[in-house]
Point group: C2
């Protein structure tokens, strides 16, 4: 491995001067040239580990998400990357797989690295951040809140959004609208479930019956199983409110398998489906501000990394309910929105 000492020897200067050249510190022009020449002849590449150890700093932001295969989170990640890159940071992505243990382990790694900051979409409401907060590593939560010490958090307005989305089913003429939501103690799942309840009460004037609710993992398979269970009811629903895109996808697959495709049984998907080809009649889709969540979280994190002090901040982004499919414009060609922030 080639070090600044090798370069220094070849350039006829001291190691300190080489270091200065590579850190943009004032050095006489002729020495700069000599150092650069020697470095490129030798193929010198600065060792980041040594640099990090010495300065105890890092240019890496750790992003932890519960499901790398869900477009919602990858769009969010892409947004974080766009903001971070503009400031010279790299983004290290970790997939917690909705597993609190795995999450803690990654957090431990991040803290012991130590990285410049962490953006975390907590796997559950009981995620502990003490490790990071104690060590002074800036953390921003996105999509969901964490337990423990208060940190900057940016979430979507799931309660309002879900209420408005679920309402679409009744407005479309469906009468008995069931709810499939994510696991208990997962904030988004709880909020969206409560949103459905509000819409139910408001639309029917009655209390939502427990049999119309299934809580399951945020997976396609979970959505399928839940739908089969609902269809087997003595008095089955004529529409399903699915709390995320994967559940909705599973619901529709199960309906197709049962020969009860939309619009016979309606489906509301709370969350967009990026590569979806055509949205069949009887399927209603509302779009989550995935990119905005990422942009905001990254911006807040960079502020903290730069030293911003003060109490934890909270941002709640609205969920736009519209027939417009804004999924693609959000995914591609988003340079303006980066600049806008």
């Amino acid at each position: 491995m080639i070090t600044i000492y090798d370069v220094a020897a070849r350039a006829g200067v001291s190691p300190a001067t080489v270091s200065r050249v590579f850190n943009g510190i004032k050095v006489s022009p002729e020495r700069v040239v000599a150092v650069r020449l020697a470095a490129s002849e030798l193929g010198f590449v600065p060792n980041r580990n040594a640099r990090r150890l010495r300065t105890s700093s890092s240019e890496i932001i750790t992003m932890m998400i519960p499901d790398i295969e869900n477009p919602f989170f990858t769009v969010m990640t892409r947004a974080v990357e766009d903001i971070a890159r503009a400031d010279g940071y790299s983004v290290m992505l970790c997939n917690t797989d909705e597993d609190p243990e795995r999450e803690q382990e990654y957090l431990r790694v991040a803290v012991s690295d130590p990285v410049a900051g962490v953006i975390l979409a907590p796997s559950s409401g009981s995620t502990k951040l003490d490790l990071a907060v104690e060590r002074g590593v800036p953390v921003v939560c996105v999509d969901r809140h964490a337990a423990g010490p208060a940190v900057d958090t940016v979430v979507a307005d799931n309660l309002m959004g879900a209420t408005a989305s679920a309402r679409l089913a009744w407005e479309a003429g469906y009468r008995r609208v069931a709810c499939i939501s994510g696991p208990e103690n997962v904030e988004t799942a709880d909020d969206r479930y409560r949103g459905w309840m509000s819409a139910y009460r408001e639309s029917t004037g009655t209390e939502p019956p427990a049999e119309l609710v299934v809580r399951t993992k945020y997976t396609v398979a979970g959505g399928e199983a839940a739908t089969r269970q609902l269809l087997a009811l003595p008095d089955p629903p004529d529409a399903i409110f699915a709390a995320n895109n994967k559940l909705a996808s599973g619901a529709i697959r199960a309906l197709a398998a049962a020969g009860r495709m939309p619009p016979e049984v309606g489906v509301v998907s709370f969350g967009g489906l990026p590569l979806v080809l055509l949205v069949p009649a009887g399927v209603m889709v509302s779009h989550l501000p995935a990119r905005q969540l990422g942009l905001t979280a990254a911006t807040m994190l960079l502020e903290r990394i730069r030293g911003l002090k003060g109490p934890a901040r909270e941002v709640v982004l609205p969920v736009v309910i519209s027939d417009e499919d804004e999924g693609f414009s959000l995914i591609e060609g988003h340079s303006e929105s980066v600049r806008a922030l």
Copy 2:
């Protein structure tokens, strides 16, 4: 920051003993207890940078992909992560955005880190790997080949797969099948284009006309624009072979906008669409072995990291053409396939 010296002092042992405890090296039981106690009382977390500097090793694998928002690559990434994690490695994901410059920059960072290894889906056929190869950082290419020094590579059989996929259109009764593929000099785009040509010749007995081919970026917008262009032809196609999932999605959107939805105009999507709700009649989808690509690449990389020498290896995975939608079983519950490797 708390160091092994602090822990050593508190536990009444030497720093080396603390180090040994945290590295699983034989230490007397009572001292292990004392060290662990002191460490947890002090909230000690080992500093990985110091460790890496000392050992000049790292537990990080850099994964570089051209499009983080394409499920094809995230499924692949997930597979890499599963394999890497089982061996104690973390995966750092970098999004090159199909941009060679960005790719080179990330490569430079990876090499100067230095990471344990790199898995790269090259942005183009001219991607140079010299930087990494010279420094002895193991590299495996996946999905596409790179230029320059030969490295382990694992790809799908795009030529055969595309030929068989495009053939589906003629078999379904379509007569004039156009081709939308990715940029020139992107290997997958070239191979799939050639696959379509084979199928064309074979099915029609004539040479494919240039007007039926559009090469564009691998984006939804690219697919839309290309489709509009094809529809405007004096003698427009009655079906479209799209070389990847995003192009197919764009094609169908454009067809819908033009009021020529499938099955009026057929579409072949070379590559699966994970969260797709329902595949409309007239749309044919073939599934790429995304997960297998990732599993294989990760396995090969770990072998190299462990010191395997020998010439560069090449693996070509078959593309299965079937009506079965295996997308979801591949995405969820894949623990067996990890073990199988």
